[in-house]
């Protein structure tokens, strides 16, 4: 089976770990437990006739004190760039992490993920220009790890961008 490495990238506490837990284990916790280093999970995604196995690299979140180590990106096929629009500063991290990827590996397909859509009334406008990010992304998706809204669609959208071009079909709606 086709197997691809996908990194979860974004500022701390935007919901990277929660999205993986929701998708792989179908659970959600309000409690915040930070990720150190990287935690790797595997999940098979079915895209119509084709199955693809994603190795999900949940990389610790960038914060004021530490940057993501480029070594964690080695061999990555694509990434989920996660922001928490209730904290507009997290757009800034997304822009800098995107630059890190481009500087380290060159361009790779990514989905821009706006998480915590259950808190949409608290979403704020971005403080940096993210139009370029939105244009480069294979998709911009709203998710909630809490309510499970958009989560599997988001991973499927990533997976289908990683299929060889000739076998790419439309994303099944479950």
């Amino acid at each position: 089976m086709l197997q691809k490495k996908v990194c979860m990238l974004g500022a701390f506490a935007v919901g990277k770990t929660s999205l993986v837990r929701r998708y792989v284990d179908s659970i959600f916790s309000e409690k915040y437990t930070t990720t150190i280093g990287v935690k790797i999970d595997k999940k098979v995604v079915s895209l119509g006739a084709q199955d693809i196995s994603l190795l999900l690299w949940d990389v610790y979140g960038e914060d004021n004190h530490q940057k993501v180590l480029p070594a964690y990106l080695r061999g990555m096929a694509g990434y989920l760039l996660v922001v928490d629009p209730t904290r507009p500063n997290t757009y800034k991290s997304a822009v800098s992490l995107n630059k890190l990827v481009n500087d380290t590996l060159g361009p790779k397909p990514f989905v821009l993920v706006l998480n915590k859509s259950d808190l949409k009334e608290d979403w704020e406008n971005e403080t940096v220009d993210v139009q370029a990010l939105k244009d480069e992304a294979v998709a911009v998706m709203e998710t909630s790890a809490k309510t499970d809204s958009g989560v599997s669609e988001m991973f499927q959208s990533m997976a289908s961008a990683l299929l060889p071009k000739n076998s790419r079909g439309s994303i099944p709606d479950e």
């Binding site: 197997q3 506490a13 150190i36 280093g37 990287v38 070594a71 061999g75």
Partner: protein, 135 residues
């Protein structure tokens, strides 16, 4: 399984800061099939490894990381098996592709709890700033 560490591993370890952490290794051929493994695999949380089988079938996480031809790559604090935190060292020499696993669970858990305190403070700080802005 070998208990004694191969020369390639011993030579590499000498270039690293000394430590008494548990250590295990996998040696892969050019097709990334395991040809040898040993050391304290169990203490590093690694299930038993079979020779003659693709490394990525036994440890999917290392799939995309190899082969390596340039200088060594180190992935610190990697969690590929629940409950165990390891440093993953990848290097190559004339013998083959080497995956050296060094347990870091103890220091990793300590780091985790320090980071937890720090980031929880940062979140409170962020929220306070936000509240002040809305006043």
């Amino acid at each position: 399984m070998n208990k004694k560490l191969p020369f390639s591993v011993v030579r590499y370890v000498k270039t690293q800061p000394a430590s008494n952490r548990s250590m295990a290794y996998l040696c892969l051929d050019e097709n990334l099939v395991v040809v040898d493994s040993g050391g304290e695999l169990e203490k590093c949380g690694i299930p038993s490894i079979e020779n003659g089988v693709l490394a990525s079938e036994q440890l999917p996480a290392i799939e995309s990381l190899l082969p390596i031809d340039e200088s060594a790559v180190v992935l610190v604090n990697t969690q590929i098996i629940e409950g165990s935190i390891i440093d993953l060292h990848l290097f190559a020499d004339s013998v083959g592709q080497w995956v050296l696993i060094i347990d870091n669970t103890e220091a990793g858990l300590r780091l985790q709890s320090e980071q937890q305190d720090r980031l929880c403070n940062d979140i409170v700080e962020e929220q306070n700033t936000k509240k002040r802005r809305f006043k």
